[in-house]
Amino acid sequence: MRIAILIFPGSNCDRDMMVAIEKLTGRRPSLVWHKESCLDPIDLAIIPGGFSFGDYLRCGALAARSPVIDAVLDHAARGGAVMGVCNGFQILLETRLLPGVLVKNAGLKYICRNITMDVCETVDSPFTRNLEVGARLTMPVAHNEGNYFAGEDELARLNDNGQIAFRYVDGPAHGLANPNGSSLDIAGIISANGRVMGMMPHPERAISPELGGSDGAKLLQGCLEALVS
C-alpha cells in the first residue's frame, strides 16, 4: 500500500492523517511538499485539512494551482485514487476533479464539533465499498467553509449517479444534524468513476476511543482495504 499525503505550507492536519494511516497500515505514508511536480507510483493520494495558503482568497484556490496538483491530476487521470478531507475537499473542488463548491457555513461561523453521517449507496468506489449502506458514523467537523453547493442539475446528477457518499443525519451531538447548511445534507461526494472522494468531516481525528470515537478509523480502514484488494 503506497500512500502519499500532500503538504501545503498551511496544511495542519497532515501529521494527524499520517499518524492515522500509520496506525492502520503499520507503514508511514510518504509526505509530498507542494512544490514537487511529480509523484512516485502510489495507490492513494491524500490531501489533508488545514489552510493551504492561508485561504484568505477562496479556500484551496491557490493550492489547486501548485505544482503537486498537476501530478495529482495525472494520477487521477490514470484512475488513481484521491481523497481530500476538509481543506483537501475544498482543493479538489478547485481542481474540478469533483463538482460543486463549498461556501461559508450557513451560520457564518467556524464550527468544530462532532457530527453524524450516513453512508449512502454509491457507484462502486473504494471509499464506500467496505462500508455498509446506512451505517452511521460519528466524527468531528472543523471548518468555516463546508457548506456544499451546486446547481440543481448538478445536485440531481450527483444524487442519481450515486456520487453522494456521506450525508449528515441526526446524532448524539448537540446542534443541527447538518452543521453548515450543505445542499442535500452532503458531507462528502465521490467522482463519477468512484476514484476521487472529498469530505468535510475528519476521519483522522476519530481513530481511537480516547479521542472521542473510532468511526474515522472504520472509514479509513475500509478505503485502505478496498484499495489493496
Binding site: P9, G10, N12, C13, R15, D16, V19, A20, G49, G50, F51, F53, G54, D55, Y56, K109, Y110, I111, C112, R113, P140, A142, N144, H174, G175, H202, E204, R205, I207, E210, L211, G212
Partner: protein, 734 residues
C-alpha cells in the same frame, strides 16, 4: 530633513513622566532624538518595564525542582518527565481587543504562540480567559463576536487546538474587555532556546513578515487609560496573519532543529525595540543594526517607525556565523524574509544606522536597569462584611433557583463560543472545552498535560488577598479534577490604574495571596504578564488576576471527565463533611443573581485543606475508583451536580441536607470541594477517612431525565440543558 529638538512635551505625549524625562537626559548627557525617545518610552512603558508591579511580582515563588526556566524568558519551562519540558505563558491583549476585537484577539493568540515557539517548543494547546461587559451593554455583542472569531481565526488556521478557557460578563468590563491568551508547548528539556545575545560579531537576523506602520507604539497605548478618543487609537492595533504565523513557526522550529540558532526573541510588544534591547541586555552586549536592511512593506519608514512598529509574525535571532546559508534555505522554503540586519557588539550600546547616518546611539543598560520601579501607595482595604446565608435566602424551591442560575451569562453553556475554536487539531485532545481542565496527550506517549485558566473577579474585588489565593486554588482544583498533578503557574494580572491607591491595593494584595497559594500548593509561577490601566473615563475593571495552570498525568487512561456514565453510580462530595452548615453565600452567584449582590466577604480558602483534598482526589483517580469528578465553584454544589448530569444526559436523586440553610447548602461557594461519581463508594469513603479528608454522600445517578431531591423538588435535565444552551445564542443570533 532635520527633526525638531525633543522636549518634555514630546516625552509626555509618549507616556513618560517629567522625572522619567529628566532621567533620560541625565543618562544620555544630551537630548534624545525622536527615535531614541521612542525607544526609551517603549522600554519604560508599564507594559515592558512592569514599573508598578515589579515590586510585588518579586514576592511570587518562582522556584521548584520542576522549574527549568522561570520568569524572564519568553515563556516559562517546567520538567514534565521523560526528558520533556512544557513551555507556557499567558498574555493579555486587552486594549487592542477593545478597539478592534477581531485583530486584537487574533494577534493576542499569535503573540503568545510566538513566545512559546521562540523557546524551541512546538505549541500543542491554547486557552484563553475572557471578560466582557454586561450582556445587555450595546458593545458586548460586537466585542464577544469579534474576539471569539479572532481567537478562532488565528488558532484554527495555525493549527493549534484551543482546549479550554473561561469567560465572564460583568458591567465593570463595559469599557475594557479582557482578552488573555495562553499557549502551551512541548520540547526536549535540553533543547530550549533563550534570548540572551552571544558572541560579539555574530550576525543578527531578522526573519518573518515585513515591517509596516501597524501597531506603532502599541505598548505605550496599552499602558494608558481609555477615554472618549479611544476610536482614534485604531491604527495602534496590529494586524494578524495566521498563515505567515504558521510559516514562521514551522521555519523557526525547523531551523532550531539544525543547530544554527544561538539566541532568539520574538518581536512582540515594542517590536524591534524590545527584542533588540532585551537580547543585548541579557547578554551584557551591544547591537548595531542597519535599519535600511529591515524588510518593509511600506515606503519611507523612519527610524522611529521601524523601531516602534508592532507588525506581527517577526523574529530576531543571533545565529552561528557559518549557519547563514542553511538558515536562509529554510526560510526560503517557507517563503519568509531572512535578512542579516546587523551584528552583536561589545559596546553595550544600541546603535542604529539609517540612510547612512546614525539614527540612534544609546547605552542599553539604562533602558533596562534604570527602568523606573515604583512602590506606589496603597489605600487601606476595608473588609467587606461576612453575610450570613439566612440574611439573604428565601423559601423558593432549589430547582427553580437552579434553573434561574443556569440561564445567567455567568453559568450558561459556552458552546456558542468554543465550537468556533478548533479544539481537536493535532489529534491529541482528550478533553476539550466544557470540562474542568483541558487535557491533551503528549504526542506518542501515555502522558498527558492538563491545563486551566481561572479567576473569580468578584472575590478579588471583595477581598484581594483571598481572591488572589482563590484563583490559584480553583486552577489547582480543575487540574486535580481530571486526575493530573498540578505543576506550575503562569499569571495575567489585569487591573485598573495603579496610580490610584485602591487599585494598587488590589494588585499588591492579590499578588501576595496568589504567592501564598502558589507556595502552599507547590505550583511556582514561571511566567506571566501584567495589564494595567484597564479603565475608561476613570472607571476601573473588577480586578482580574488570572491564573493559568499546567499539570501532568502519567497515564492518560486513568483521566476522568465530569460526566457520570451510568445510573446507580454514587455521588459524593469531598472536602465537605456531613455536619451541614449554612453554606457561604457571600460574593456567590446566588448573591449576585438572586439576592441583589450585597457587599459581602467571599468564601475563605484553606490552602492546607485544598492540598490534602486535591492529593486525595489525584490518588483515587489514579487508583481507578472515580468515574467522574467536577470541582465545586461558581454556583455551588447543586450547580456542580446539575452540570455533571447535563454532561451525562442522566438524572440523579439527591439527599437533601438535614438542617442548615437549604439555599446555602445548595448554592454556597465554600471552597476546596469536588463532586465525584463512583461505583466504589465504600472504598472511596474509607480511603477519605484514612486520609483525613472530609466526604459526604450526596445521592445516586439515575437513568431518568430528572434531578430530584428527596423532599420531592425536581427538575428535568433536558430543560436545564435547553435553558443553559439558549442564553448566549439568544444574545448573539438575536
Amino acid at each position: 530633513m532635520s527633526e525638531p529638538e525633543m522636549t518634555l512635551d514630546n516625552a509626555a505625549s509618549m507616556g513618560l513622566s517629567a522625572d522619567e524625562w529628566k532621567l533620560i537626559l541625565k543618562r544620555l548627557e544630551r537630548t534624545p532624538n525622536l527615535c531614541e525617545l521612542g525607544i526609551f518610552s517603549a522600554m519604560w512603558s508599564e507594559h515592558c518595564s512592569y514599573k508598578s508591579s515589579k515590586k510585588w511580582l518579586k514576592t511570587l515563588p518562582v522556584d521548584g525542582p520542576m522549574v527549568i526556566d522561570g520568569p524572564g524568558e519568553n515563556a516559562g519551562a517546567v520538567d514534565i518527565g521523560d526528558g520533556l519540558a512544557a513551555i507556557f505563558k499567558i498574555e493579555s491583549h486587552n486594549h487592542p481587543s477593545y478597539i478592534e476585537p477581531y485583530q486584537g484577539a487574533a494577534t493576542g493568540v499569535g503573540g503568545i504562540l510566538r513566545d512559546v515557539f521562540t523557546m524551541g517548543a512546538r505549541p500543542v494547546a491554547l486557552l484563553n480567559a475572557l471578560r466582557f461587559g454586561a450582556a445587555d451593554h450595546e458593545k458586548t455583542r460586537h466585542l464577544l463576536g469579534g474576539v471569539v472569531s479572532g481567537i478562532g481565526g488565528y488558532g484554527n488556521c495555525i493549527g493549534i487546538p484551543t482546549v479550554g478557557g473561561e469567560v465572564n460578563f460583568d458591567a465593570s468590563y463595559n469599557g475594557n474587555v479582557l482578552v488573555n491568551a495562553m499557549a502551551v508547548g512541548l520540547t526536549h528539556s535540553d533543547r530550549i532556546f533563550r534570548s540572551a545575545a552571544t558572541g560579539p560579531g555574530n550576525p543578527i537576523i531578522y526573519v518573518g513578515a515585513k515591517t509596516g506602520r501597524d501597531g506603532i507604539h502599541g505598548a505605550t497605548m496599552a499602558s494608558a487609560e481609555f477615554s472618549d478618543e479611544t476610536e482614534s487609537k485604531r491604527p495602534t492595533v496590529q494586524v494578524g496573519d495566521p498563515f505567515t504565523g504558521k510559516l514562521l513557526m514551522e521555519a523557526c522550529l525547523e531551523l532550531m532543529g539544525s543547530d544554527s540558532v544561538l539566541s532568539i526573541q520574538d518581536m512582540g510588544a515594542a517590536g524591534l525595540t524590545s527584542s533588540s534591547v532585551e537580547m543585548a541586555s541579557k547578554g551584557g552586549l551591544g547591537m548595531e543594526i542597519d535599519l535600511d536592511l529591515v524588510p518593509t512593506r511600506e515606503e519611507e519608514m523612519s527610524a522611529y517607525e521601524l523601531m516602534l512598529s508592532e507588525s506581527q509574525e517577526r523574529m530576531l535571532m543571533v545565529i552561528k556565523p557559518d549557519a547563514t546559508r542553511r538558515a536562509r534555505e529554510i526560510f526560503d522554503k517557507w517563503n519568509l524574509d531572512f535578512m542579516p540586519i546587523g551584528r552583536v557588539t561589545e559596546t553595550g550600546r544600541l546603535v542604529l544606522l539609517k540612510d547612512g547616518a546614525t539614527a540612534c546611539d544609546i547605552p542599553i543598560k539604562p533602558l533596562v536597569d534604570d527602568a523606573p520601579e515604583y512602590d506606589r501607595p496603597q489605600a487601606k482595604f476595608v473588609s467587606y462584611p461576612i453575610v450570613e446565608s439566612r440574611a439573604i435566602t428565601s423559601d423558593a424551591p432549589i430547582s427553580s433557583i437552579l434553573l434561574q442560575l443556569l440561564k445567567t451569562f455567568d453559568l450558561a453553556s459556552r458552546r456558542w463560543i468554543y465550537e468556533q475554536y478548533d479544539s481537536q487539531v493535532m489529534a491529541d485532545t482528550l478533553q476539550g472545552p466544557g470540562g474542568d481542565a483541558g487535557l491533551i496527550r503528549v504526542h506518542g506517549s501515555q502522558r498527558g498535560l492538563a491545563m486551566s485558566t481561572d479567576c473569580t473577579p468578584r472575590y478579588v474585588e471583595a477581598d484581594p488577598h483571598n481572591g488572589g489565593a482563590q484563583a490559584v486554588a480553583e486552577a489547582y482544583r480543575n487540574i486535580c479534577a481530571v486526575g493530573a498533578r498540578p505543576l506550575a503557574i503562569t499569571n495575567n494580572l489585569n487591573f485598573g490604574n495603579p496610580e490610584k491607591p485602591e487599585i494598587m491595593t488590589q494588585m499588591a494584595q492579590s499578588v501576595i495571596g496568589m504567592g501564598e497559594a502558589a507556595l502552599a500548593l507547590n505550583t511556582p509561577v514561571v511566567s506571566g504578564n501584567v495589564s494595567l490601566y484597564n479603565e475608561t473615563d476613570g472607571q476601573a475593571i473588577r480586578p482580574c488576576p488570572v491564573v493559568g495552570m499546567v499539570g501532568v498525568i502519567n497515564d492518560i487512561a486513568t483521566a476522568v471527565g465530569i460526566a457520570p456514565t451510568a445510573s446507580g453510580q454514587t455521588l459524593l462530595v469531598i472536602g465537605q463533611d456531613e455536619d451541614c452548615n449554612d453554606g457561604w453565600l457571600g460574593a456567590s452567584l446566588y448573591a449576585r443573581h438572586i439576592a441583589g449582590e450585597p457587599l459581602a466577604a467571599p468564601p475563605p480558602v484553606s490552602l492546607e485543606a485544598e492540598r490534602k483534598t486535591g492529593e486525595f482526589l489525584q490518588s483515587q483517580i489514579g487508583a481507578g475508583t472515580i468515574i467522574a469528578a467536577h470541582d465545586v465553584s461558581d454556583g455551588g454544589l447543586v450547580v456542580a451536580i446539575a452540570e455533571m448530569c447535563m454532561a451525562a444526559g442522566l438524572g440523579a436523586t439527591i439527599i437533601s441536607p438535614n438542617g442548615g440553610n437549604a439555599h446555602g447548602w445548595a448554592f454556597g461557594e465554600d471552597q476546596g470541594r469536588y463532586v465525584i461519581a463512583t461505583d466504589d463508594a465504600g472504598v472511596v469513603t474509607n480511603a477519605a477517612k484514612t486520609a483525613d479528608v472530609n466526604i459526604c454522600l450526596l445521592g445516586v445517578i439515575s437513568a431518568t431525565d430528572e434531578l430530584k431531591f428527596d423532599d420531592g423538588d425536581a427538575i428535568s435535565i433536558s430543560k436545564l440543558i435547553s435553558s443553559a444552551e439558549a442564553t448566549i445564542p439568544a444574545l448573539m443570533n438575536g
